[in-house]
Amino acid sequence: MTQLALVIDLNVCVGCHACVTSCKEWNTSGSAGPLCDERPYDENPTGTFFNRVQTYEIGTFPNSETLHFPKSCLHCEDPPCVPVCPTGASYKRKEDGIVLVDYDKCIGCKYCSWACPYGVREFDEERKVMTKCTLCVDRIYDMSMPEADRKPSCVKACPTSARLFGDIHDPESAVSQAIREDGGYALMPEWGTHPSNHYLPRRKTKVKIHEDELERADNPLKLDQQLPKPDKDQSTMDDVSAW
């Protein structure tokens, strides 16, 4: 079974909010209707967003770290928002695991938002229905787009590739590998909701180059040459072989 999801690399996210604006732009222009904005150019502007980037400070100054934390619907494998819906408007698709709201069935009782511990459902004050991240379901299956574009618009917008998209039930997919190898974790695991979206933790990235990676230590046929050692006044092509 397929479970589409995002994997967000907190080590790479720079907090630029490009995913936020790109999400808003795509989802307000789609066939499912606009995401309302109230008083956009006046006092107290507010509106419906599916995706937000938050910022946290970890530790105490001066030994602190800044963490940028994008948050959207996690498309839980056991979504608590779905069974509580009295009309069946909230549902989880069998074929790809995306949690969606049928805007034509929603009565706007907001009960599903009470049942979501992550606060990722937003009530649209103009349409009077509950809305949420669709994983750009109207984009990822759009055959009129080139295959490279069939990804959620937040993923396409991220300038640092902090957002990966794929099937977390396929062990060979890039997202599964990232979760496996880079310590992917889920939010609030204590509630047993099994979020599909995962986060990759902040981690030290160091590149250590060993000498034998520059010069082959075992050089069985003596074919490799030693690296050139130019004179001190000569310029070099790379920093490595410099004095």
């Binding site: 009295p86 009309t87 009565i107």
Partner: protein, 323 residues
């Protein structure tokens, strides 16, 4: 959570309606076995009219909670999984039976169904009353389970929520029945007032127990589990928005700690202590009993406000600093 007045009126009005129905049927049952004098059909019939008025008031209030009330009929479809859907079915079903119960009394449609050994005659109104009693309790359970089933709203996720909804609804219904009886059946007012005292006392104990429990709750979710960073000192610097959103509007009551501290003894006094005192001194005086019902109803409105306001939704962990 942000208390919604539509839901506060819905739960308190139908609670009183259900309680009044239970009071009327309890009396009819006592009378059947000769423990109390059987009252005229008009007593039960017009009592059922009050029940229906209260339930209809609650139903109307509930529509104000919906963004799309014209689609409300859809809400009956997911009774297999949703307590809200079950409530949507149980409320009209109970209203229907309460209507039939009242009709059978007011129009004297009481065909005999079975005669119990000992000569106790079970007629249609009694059967309807028993069905209504079952439905009244089902409705209490459905209403309370809407809140009690949400496991991460830990203030609500307790059997005490269900018990207290039943007891508080029952208490206000029996107080209303005592007040109603002072006009419609003055000799029976003491019976209802006696039960009202017992149920109000039980409700008081139940509510104190849930307050005691909630005061000792340790949050399961923390900022550490919310963002998955295992550092003891984490603070939010920006929630990612400045103009407010659904998340900042609908999950916090918006009142000060001091307001919350004031309303707690306030509702305990209004909903339990004062009505108990009035019931004890004012047996069968219509003015005192009427006053007791109004005070208790106001107290229950405050209680329901506090019930919602006290629940701390874990999503608030993500919305602490505008930035």
């Amino acid at each position: 959570m942000k208390p919604a007045f539509s839901v506060i009126f819905l739960t308190t009005l139908i609670g009183a309606g259900q309680g009044l129905f239970l009071a009327l049927f309890t009396h009819q049952l006592y009378a059947l076995f000769g423990l109390l004098p059987m009252q005229s059909d008009a007593f039960y019939g017009y009592g059922s009219v009050i029940v229906l008025l209260l339930l209809a008031g609650g139903l109307v209030a509930s529509f104000f909670h919906l963004g799309r009330p014209e689609r409300a009929w859809r809400a009956a479809s997911q009774w297999r999984t949703s307590w809200l859907s079950r409530e949507v079915i149980a409320l009209p079903a109970f209203m229907g039976v309460a209507f039939l119960f009242g009709t059978s009394h007011l129009f004297g449609i009481r065909p005999e169904i079975v005669t119990l050994p000992g000569g106790f005659v079970v007629d249609l109104s009694l059967l309807l009353g028993a069905t209504g009693t079952l439905l009244a309790f089902s409705l209490f359970v459905c209403t309370a389970m809407i809140y009690a089933c949400l496991r991460f709203l830990r203030e609500w996720h307790s059997p005490l929520t269900v018990i207290n909804y039943i007891l508080m609804g029952g208490a206000s219904g029996f107080v209303l029945a005592a007040f109603y009886a002072t006009y419609a059946a003055p000799t029976e007012a003491d019976f209802f007032a006696g039960w009202a005292i017992i149920i109000t006392l039980l409700a008081f104990v139940g509510r104190l127990a849930s307050l005691w429990r909630n005061a000792r709750l340790k949050p399961t979710s923390t900022i550490q589990t919310a963002i998955g960073v295992k550092h003891p000192r984490i603070s939010q610097r920006s929630m990612g928005l400045m103009g407010g959103s659904f998340n900042t509007r609908d999950f916090f009551h918006g009142k000060s700690e001091a307001f919350l501290r004031t309303i707690k003894p306030g509702f305990l006094l209004l909903a339990f202590v004062l009505p108990l005192a009035l019931l004890a001194i004012g047996l069968s005086s219509p003015v005192v009993l009427g006053f007791a019902f109004i005070l208790q109803y106001l107290g229950l409105l405050a209680e329901r406000w506090f019930f919602f306001a006290q629940a701390n939704h874990p999503q608030n962990l993500y919305y602490q600093t505008i930035g």
